[in-house]
C-alpha cells in the first residue's frame, strides 16, 4: 500500500552543494537535496555516515560551512535574525526522546507554544490535549515522562513537536531506542502523521516503514548521498554496490 496525498510541487527544503566539517573531519560532502511540500523522505545508511548531522543541519542544530540550505524560503546563514522562528516551523523527534523530565506530559507539550508562539495557556492546553489524543495517550497528560514507557514517551515527543504546528517534521531514528513491542506503536503514529500530508524526513532502518510511507529513499555513506530513488526501485533494484551490500545486511538479519 502506498499512501497518496495531494502533493504540491512547492519546494520547502532546498539543499545545494552543502558541505560540513567537524574540525578537519569532512562529515557531509556535496549534499544536494530538494524536498517538496508533503513529501516523505527516508534516509538510511551505516552508522557514522552523517545521517543525523544532515537532518540536524536543516534546523541548524549543526552549522554547515559551505553551500546553501533554504528552509521555507529562508536561507540558513550565520547572520540570521530569527532563528527561533524558523526552528519553531521545523519539528524534530530524537532517538532518546529528550522530554523534559521535570515537567508533566501536558506541560512538555504546552511550554513552547505558550512562550515561543505566545499562545494563551488555555488554547495551548486544548491543542496539546487534541494532539495527545491523536497519539493515543490523553490519559497520561498529568504524569511525568519518567512514569511512561519508552513508546509512550516517544509519542509524547511527537505530540510535543506537533504542538508547535510545524510545517516540516524531522525524525532521527525515532524507534532505535525502543523495545520491539513498542516500535509498532510509534511507527503507527508516524504513519498516521504521514496520512495528514505532513512533510517528513525520517532517518530510520525500519524498511517496512520506508516501503509503506516514503516517496523517496536516500542511502548515505561516508557523508555522501550515494543513491536516491522511489522505494520500489530502491529496494528491488538498487544500482550502487554499497547500497546492495547495506540492504542485504539489514534485510537479512
Amino acid at each position: 500500500m502506498v499512501i497518496n496525498n495531494n502533493k504540491s510541487s512547492k519546494t520547502v527544503i532546498q539543499i545545494k552543494e552543502m558541505h560540513k566539517w567537524f574540525g578537519n573531519f569532512h562529515v557531509l560532502k556535496n549534499i544536494s537535496l530538494g524536498v517538496n511540500q508533503g513529501e516523505r523522505i527516508v534516509i538510511c545508511g551505516p552508522s557514522g555516515s552523517g545521517k543525523s548531522t544532515l537532518i540536524r543541519c536543516i534546523n541548524r542544530l549543526e552549522v554547515h560551512q559551505q553551500g546553501d540550505i533554504i528552509v521555507n524560503n529562508v536561507e540558513l546563514t550565520g547572520d540570521l535574525k530569527n532563528l527561533e522562528a524558523i526552528r519553531s516551523d521545523v519539528g524534530m523527534v530524537f532517538q532518546s526522546f529528550n522530554l523534559f523530565p521535570h515537567l508533566t506530559v501536558l506541560e512538555n507539550c504546552t511550554l513552547a507554544p505558550i512562550w515561543v508562539k505566545k499562545l494563551p495557556k488555555k488554547e495551548a492546553e486544548e491543542l496539546a490535549m487534541e494532539l495527545l489524543t491523536r497519539v493515543k495517550i490523553p490519559e497520561q497528560a498529568l504524569k511525568y515522562p519518567g512514569q511512561l514507557s519508552g513508546g509512550q514517551q516517544q509519542r509524547v515527543a511527537i505530540a510535543r513537536s506537533l504542538c508547535m504546528q510545524p510545517k516540516i517534521m524531522l525524525f532521527d531514528e525515532p524507534t532505535s531506542a525502543l523495545d520491539p513491542e513498542m516500535i509498532k506503536e510509534v511507527l503507527d503514529t508516524m504513519i498516521e502523521l504521514a496520512e495528514t500530508g505532513m512533510t517528513m524526513i525520517v532517518v530510520t532502518h525500519e524498511m517496512g516503514f520506508a516501503k509503506k510511507v516514503a516517496d523517496s529513499v536516500i542511502f548515505m555513506d561516508e557523508g555522501e548521498i550515494i543513491e536516491q530513488n522511489d522505494p520500489k526501485n530502491f529496494f528491488n533494484n538498487p544500482k550502487n554496490d554499497r547500497t546492495k551490500l547495506f540492504l542485504s545486511q539489514i534485510l537479512n538479519h
Binding site: E84, S88, F94, N98, L99, F100, A112, Q147
Partner: protein, 369 residues
C-alpha cells in the same frame, strides 16, 4: 509444607513466609541476622543504657536551673549548672538590644516564618498574596529592627548580638547569595567572554581567600573601595562579605548541576525554538537547582555556622556572648554548659535546614512516583 499443584495460570498470590515482614521480621533481619550482629546489638544496647542514664542525670535530674553563681549551683547539686544560661538568656537571644524594645525582634522573627512560607512551600494556599508579603517583608524587618522611623526608637547596630545576630547574618546571607550564585553559575557558562571571565575571576577569588580575611577587609577596608560618601554599617559590610563568599560556592555547586543536564535537553529546547532566557528559566535552572539542592543546603549550613566568625571583628554572636558570660567571675568555669547551649541552638537550626532539603528533594523527584 505440602506443595499443592495448580493448573498453569491459576497460581494464587501467597503470603510471604513467616518472620520476613512486619516488626518482627525487621528486627530479625536488621538486629539479629547473625551471631556477631546479635552480639553487637546487645553490647550497643547496654552501652546506650549507661550513656543515656549518665546524660539524663547530668542534663536534667542532677542539674541546677537557677542560682546566684557557680558556687551557689554546686551547693545545690552536682549536675549541670544551667543558671549561667537562664540568668543571661536575654543576652544570648537579643545581645544588648534594649530590653523595652525586644518585642520588635520577636515580631520580626515570628513574621519571618510567614514571609518564608510561600517561598519554601510552593503548594501553600493563597500563595500569591503571601508572596506580596514576602516582597514587602525585608523593608518591614529593616524598619522594625533598626528603628528611626514611625516613632520607633533608633537602635545602634553595635547593640545587636546573640542568636538574633546569627539569624540576621545567616538569613540575609542565604537569601542574597542564592540569586547571586545562580547568576555567577550562568555567567561562568556564558558564551560572552567578558561575562565568563568576570564570573570566573570573582568565583576563584572568593573561594581562594579565607572567610576570616574577608571579614577583616569588611571591618577595616571595604569603605576605601566604595564610592566616597557611602558609609555602610559594619553589619551590612559583613553581610555583603558572607553573601559574596557563599555565592561563589553556590555558583560552583549549581554549575555542577548545569553540567549534569544531558545535552539532549538543550537540543530539544532549541528544536522547539526557545531562546536563551527561555531555556535557562524553564529547562536549565529547574533541573540544575533540583540536582544541586544537597550541595546548596550544605553551603547554607556552612555559611550559617560561619557567622560565628564575626566574633573576630568584635560583633557579639552567641559564642561571643557566651565568652563574655564565662569571663564573669560568678560563672567562671562553666564552659561546658555554655558551649553546649550554643551548639544546641546551631544544631536545631541546621537540622531544620537539612530536613527541609530532604523533603524538597523528595517532592521534586518526578520519576516513578
Amino acid at each position: 509444607m505440602s506443595e499443592k499443584t495448580y493448573k498453569p495460570g491459576n497460581y494464587p498470590d501467597l503470603p510471604p513466609p513467616p518472620g520476613t515482614v512486619g516488626v518482627y521480621g525487621w528486627i530479625r533481619q536488621n538486629l539479629f541476622s547473625s551471631i556477631s550482629n546479635s552480639l553487637l546489638t546487645i553490647i550497643s544496647v547496654v552501652l546506650l543504657y549507661y550513656l543515656i542514664n549518665g546524660i539524663i542525670g547530668w542534663f536534667f535530674l542532677d542539674a541546677v536551673f537557677d542560682a546566684e553563681s557557680k558556687i551557689a549551683c554546686r551547693k545545690i547539686n552536682d549536675g549541670a549548672c544551667w543558671a549561667v544560661i537562664t540568668r543571661r538568656v536575654g543576652q544570648f537571644v537579643y545581645g544588648f538590644y534594649p530590653e523595652a524594645e525586644r518585642w520588635r525582634i520577636d515580631i520580626t522573627f515570628l513574621t519571618m516564618f510567614i514571609a518564608f512560607a510561600p517561598l519554601l512551600y510552593p503548594d501553600i494556599p493563597k500563595r500569591k498574596w503571601l508572596l506580596y508579603f514576602s516582597l514587602f517583608y525585608p523593608f518591614f524587618a529593616f524598619v522594625l529592627i533598626m528603628g528611626g522611623y514611625f516613632g520607633l526608637q533608633k537602635i545602634e547596630y553595635s547593640l545587636f548580638g546573640g542568636f538574633m545576630l546569627t539569624v540576621i547574618l545567616g538569613v540575609c546571607g542565604i537569601v542574597c547569595s542564592l540569586p547571586l550564585g545562580i547568576l555567577l553559575a550562568l555567567g561562568r557558562q556564558s558564551n560572552l567572554t567578558v561575562v565568563r571571565t568576570l564570573s570566573v575571576c570573582f568565583i576563584e577569588f572568593m573561594r581562594g581567600v579565607p572567610l576570616i580575611t574577608l571579614l577583616f577587609v569588611a571591618s577595616s577596608m571595604l569603605n576605601y573601595f566604595l564610592p566616597p560618601g557611602t558609609n555602610f554599617s559594619i553589619l551590612v559590610r559583613v553581610i555583603i562579605m558572607f553573601t559574596f563568599f557563599s555565592a561563589a560556592y553556590i555558583a560552583e555547586v549549581i554549575r555542577g548541576g548545569i553540567q549534569a543536564i544531558p545535552k539532549g535537553q538543550y537540543e530539544a529546547a532549541d528544536a522547539l525554538g526557545m531562546n536563551y532566557w527561555q531555556k535557562t528559566r524553564f529547562i536549565t535552572l529547574p533541573q540544575a537547582l533540583k540536582i544541586s539542592i544537597p550541595g546548596i543546603v550544605n553551603t547554607f549550613i556552612g555559611l550559617y555556622k560561619d557567622t560565628t566568625l564575626v566574633v573576630v571583628i568584635g560583633l557579639l554572636d552567641p559564642l561571643g556572648i557566651g565568652r563574655a558570660a564565662l569571663a564573669d567571675t560568678k560563672w567562671n568555669g562553666l564552659s561546658t554548659e555554655t558551649y553546649l547551649f550554643v551548639a544546641l541552638f546551631f544544631f536545631v537550626s541546621c537540622f531544620a535546614m537539612s530536613r527541609y532539603s530532604l523533603w524538597l528533594e523528595n517532592k521534586l523527584n518526578t520519576d516513578k512516583k
